[in-house]
Symmetry: C3
Subunit: 155 residues, 3 copies
């Protein structure tokens, strides 16, 4: 079962990644490593899920938003690789939560992204990570995640 098959079995469709309107790019490949730019919980209308954990966004919302971010990261990987079977492993995530100073449950939020990676890539989707609280995030979005993946050459 390929990652694309698993996405279909989960009823998930890859979104179209936003095009950066600046001098950065959504990804860079170096040897067998794919570096993915940070992504946020982009909604079908092009806006972002906004809010702050511990204030006006629940852990459930944060978890769902982190899953949305994970799907966007996978969409960028698909653009980069053509074929998601080239993902040999998810190496490292930096999971960033927009949260109040006394918020303490960042891991429960970022699990939304981590869980999706394991659902789609199986054991290869298990990764090192940090799940931490930011002072603020672009567009006041709830969560942002950046990722490093190990990849195989094109078949």
């Amino acid at each position: 079962m390929t990652p694309e098959d698993r996405l279909a079995a989960l009823g998930l469709t890859l979104p179209t990644p936003p095009k950066p309107v600046a001098t950065y790019v959504p990804y860079r490949i170096v040897g067998d490593m794919l570096y993915l730019s940070g992504q946020g919980p982009r909604q079908p209308n092009g806006g972002y899920s906004v809010g702050r954990l511990g204030k006006d966004a629940t852990i459930e919302q944060g978890y769902a938003d982190a899953r949305t971010v994970g799907l966007l990261l996978i969409a960028v990987a698909k653009d980069a690789l053509g074929d998601l079977s080239r993902v040999k492993g998810v190496v490292k995530l930096l999971g960033m939560v927009n949260a109040e100073p006394d918020f303490a449950d960042h891991p429960k939020v970022i699990n939304g992204c981590s869980d999706l990676f394991v659902e789609v890539f199986g054991e290869a989707g298990r990764h090192a990570r940090s799940a931490v609280g930011m002072g603020s995030l672009p567009n006041r979005m709830t969560v942002e995640v950046e990722a490093i993946l190990q990849i195989a050459p094109p078949a």
Copy 2:
């Protein structure tokens, strides 16, 4: 003198790393790189040293906590590698301090981890790093550090 010898000479015993109860893992190895998940100042009772620099935690406490984090990162590396002599170099730390907006002394806190790495690994322990202030951290802990190490294959 091996890193294990140096730990013994410093009177330090490696703690047992916590087992993640989720879809992430404490480390990932890719080629000659070891990526370590962020760790916090875990106490012998299983809890974490909590507080916020610039509010209710002193720089001395933060330094001690960062040293505790460093020892935990070394314990995870030992689990991953079997033999700490396989550490060829500490490449990069991201040192994250739970701090008030006007706190300015993050480097003095993260030095607790950086200093330990040099005590244990010698010159190979010197690393690139950033030492910065987070809006919040899991469990309200004082400090979290993630690391990338360069490693040799098993002997």
Copy 3:
């Protein structure tokens, strides 16, 4: 046209990077990767541009400060490599903005660094990145950026 030529054409002179007075170093090389420690907007007098976006620093100031940080990162790369033509690509930036909780324009700030990298390195300067808001930064500086570059062996 070499990166050094482009710097000269832009009227830019590389600053002297600060020497870390601790157990970390400004950079580490592993294989074909150059890891650069986080740098801040150091001023000619040795101090830092301080302030908080959304409070007492404008986006224009933040952009200029991020450009100053970019020049310092390039100066460290020059120290590390001798010859900036050895930079094969800018792989990844973590752009960290000292900002109020409701600040939303982090990308506009970090573009100061990203734009400089493209001006100096051309297409090879385009990179993956995250541009996010910190709770605080060392010396209360406005912005800090760390970077990973892909490099070629010495000629």
